[in-house]
Amino acid sequence: MDLIQLWLPQFLLGALYTLIYCVVSFPLALLLGLVLSFMKGSRFTWLRTPAVIFIEVFRSTPIITQLFLLYYGVGGLLANYNLSQYDNAWAAGIVCLSLNYAAYEAEVFRAGFLSVDRGQTEAAYSLGLSAGQNFFRIVFPQAIPLMAPPFVNDFIYMLKDSAIVSVISGVELTSVLQLATFVNGSDTIPLYLMALVLYLVMSLPISYIARYFEQRLRAAL
């Protein structure tokens, strides 16, 4: 299987770039999702409506459409303002993944904050804590273990969704796979198997760990 030995270093490099895409995009998505959940739960219409529009639009359009819109559409527009050094696959991929997953994380945050018992908030107010102190010291720490399993699941989804940047010529495991199958026209099955195994090696251990911690969390609740 010298074909596998020949291509394995490049496949591992592609897997590393996949991890880089996800590790950079996921915290941005979490941060933006937190801000969106605050905006969506606000009593002001001028904060609620843009957040609702953002979440509904980014959850109802395919990620490849968003990616093309950002890379070709907004990227073409950047050339008019002399900002075309930002028109590369890295920036477009990270921005697209962050915005798309922020819409999903906002819903997870909202569900998490609503799952914390109302009695905690009422007790906090009766003890004289302000709204900000109530949120950051009482509600948010109790909501974190409830929101951790969906976040890990979303990270696994992002590991797989990062394959999308290969259609805008971003370097990723899928793009290395496309290059390898293009170079070897005939013997492509070992390459596909190698890519599948690498994706499984990246996602299965995380999902098993997540399932284990989810069972422990459910037992503790």
Partner: protein, 301 residues
């Protein structure tokens, strides 16, 4: 009732002057709507490739994209039917008594759920399809042609393009296998959520296993199954956009084809936004339907 406000009353006194921004926001929305109509009317009436001049020339794209949106919906419907069949078979395999069948289905579900759908589509169209056409001489278009010839109606498929139909076929197969794995878990959760007492009562009344499944378990499992199923259908409509990578002429492919011919960058952005609007309308309507069905089915008997 849907909870939209995170903080509970009693809270600190609301700052009344910030509410003024609500009215400013409505004014801003009105200005944005007027500005959008002005933008569309005055700046986007450039002539198209086929020399349609005049105002509102962009309007020609609307029925073109609408036809391709119909193809997208057709692909999604066929894929969801096949995925439901595969998911149901997979669910029955996951809860089967035969350990090899359980293991086989578990491997199928874990492999499909652990790899990206783009890699699976590439594997189906550029890997498995090539191998099947080289070793077994299996060609989807030839198979369909011979089937329609046997049914005495091959003139219906005579002017189908072979490469396009092959891409359609393998794309739909790839989508169905991917969503069959997710729907396996959904159906398995639905079947397992029905109380075991129902099973025991049915068996004690003399129904055999097939009648128990068809008449007792499955109708009750439908309540639990329907919300995730509609969510996956919406995600399937969005993932059908990935078929454009295989060259299938559906909505995303048409958006890219229309946009690549535009040189002005703001018209290019307009094409992408218009196409995203089509997906938004389809998926938003489906998600409203899903929420309605979920509320309807949440009411117990």
């Amino acid at each position: 009732m849907e909870q939209t406000i995170i903080r509970s009353e009693p809270g600190p006194k609301p700052r009344r002057w910030l509410v003024i921004f609500d009215y400013l926001f409505y004014l801003l929305l009105l200005l944005l709507a007027v500005g959008l109509i002005y933008y569309l009317y005055y700046y986007l009436s450039t002539p198209l490739v086929n020399s349609l001049t005049g105002k509102f020339a962009m309007i020609i794209w609307v029925p073109i994209l609408l036809q391709k949106a119909g193809i997208t919906i057709l692909i999604s419907l066929i894929s969801v039917v096949l995925a439901t069949v595969l998911g149901f078979l997979g669910a029955l395999g996951r809860i089967s008594r035969f350990a090899p069948l359980r293991w086989l289905t578990m491997v199928y579900v874990e492999v499909i759920r652990g790899t990206p759908i783009l890699v699976q589509l590439l594997c189906w169209y550029f890997g498995i399809a090539q191998i099947l056409s080289l070793t077994l001489n299996f060609d989807p278009y030839a198979a369909l042609y011979s089937l329609m010839t046997a049914l005495q109606s091959n003139s219906l498929v005579a002017n189908l393009d072979q490469a396009t139909f092959d891409a359609f076929f393998w794309g739909i197969i790839g989508l169905s296998f991917n969503y069959g794995a997710y729907l396996t878990e959904v159906f398995r959760a639905g079947i397992l959520s029905v109380d075991k007492g129902q099973n025991e009562a049915a068996l004690s009344l003399g129904l055999n296993a097939r009648q128990t499944m068809n008449r007792i378990v499955l109708p009750q499992a439908l309540r639990i199954t329907l919300p995730p199923f509609t969510n996956y259908f919406i995600t399937l409509v969005q993932d059908s956009a990935l078929l454009s990578v295989l060259g299938v002429t559906e909505l995303e492919q048409e958006i890219s084809a229309l946009a690549v011919t535009q040189t002005a960058s703001n018209i290019k952005l307009f094409v992408y936004v218009l196409g995203a609007l089509y997906y938004f309308v389809i998926c938003f309507a489906l998600s409203l339907l899903a929420r309605f069905l979920e509320a309807r089915f949440a009411r117990a008997y």
